[in-house]
Amino acid sequence: MLNITSILFYAFSIVLLGAATMVVIARNPVYATLYLVLAFFSAAAIFLLLGAEFLGLILILVYVGAVMVLFLFVVMMLDINLARLKEGFLSYLPLGLAIAALGVLELAMVYWTAPMGHIPAPAPFPGNYDNTRALGYVLYTQYLYPFEIAAAILLVAIIAAIALTLRRRSGTKSQRTEEQLRVQAKDRVHLVDLRANKH
């Protein structure tokens, strides 16, 4: 039963896995970031195929559009020494692979020994199914409380980002337009009444 949706699913999955692998093994961190963009993009396509239209688009909008820009900034900002970054890669590799293998093994055990069969299949989507509408409806009714907590978390993130990175530096030569406009003649020119000496 290989219809076009399945073909697309496998195509995007292969691209996703390939891109994710390249993120890890790419030598140049900028390339790795760009592969991450590709990975996010493929994941967005898979979300779309699953019917999660809104999530797919948000993934592109927020992750590809904003988070990756931040990643690129950070990668460039860090002044990474590529040679040093790769140091110890081989010595950590066996440990990393062992942990990854353990994770895969655990997942496989979970999957094969205890299929999650208690849950009934989701109800069929109605013909006029609209993912964004469905999501919006629960978000602003049932999930109203977590939604407001999310606002608090975003506020904390704003405060933390500014408090941790913003530092006023003294002595920068910047132009302050408002002060230039507000300036008056008496601030700049001091007229001294100098009488010529009588003699």
Partner: protein, 140 residues
């Protein structure tokens, strides 16, 4: 019979997925676009590699900088202020993301949903005032 209808071959699909497939057909042009973009991007590269002459030597491959040897790595430290701008952009980008589903279901969620979004925006406006007053938006 339109192309979209032919694509969602309903004998092949479980009924649960019909709504999704109908949604997906709207994205068919995007898929075609992606495919063509891929072709346009990749084919010239492949053609160039296959047809063009390639005789590299050490001089041709060495980096060139105004007739001198390269002085230093092209990579250098960026000012942390770029990072601040980027992270503030992400935060407000996320805020906007919440507005889309809200606008779509605005007719169903009533006053409660409206007030919920007002509070959400209010909290973030406080963050914005903080950001503004602290001078995080200024580039001195």
């Amino acid at each position: 019979m339109t192309g979209a209808d032919r694509w969602s071959d309903e004998t092949l699909l479980q009924p649960a997925w019909r709504g999704v497939v109908r949604m997906l057909t709207h994205y068919l042009p995007v898929l075609i676009f992606l495919f063509i973009a891929l072709l346009v991007g990749v084919v010239p590269l492949l053609l160039g590699a296959a047809l063009g002459p390639s005789k590299p030597d050490s001089e041709k491959l060495s980096p060139y900088e105004c007739g001198f040897e390269a002085f230093e790595d092209a990579r250098m430290k960026f000012d942390v202020r770029y990072y601040l701008v980027a992270i503030l952009f992400i935060l407000f980008d996320l805020e906007i993301a919440f507005l889309f589903p809200w606008a779509v279901v605005f007719d169903q969620i009533g006053l409660v949903g409206f007030v919920a979004m007002l509070i959400f925006l209010g909290i973030l406006v406080i963050g914005f005032i903080y950001e503004w007053k602290k001078g995080a938006l200024e580039w001195e």
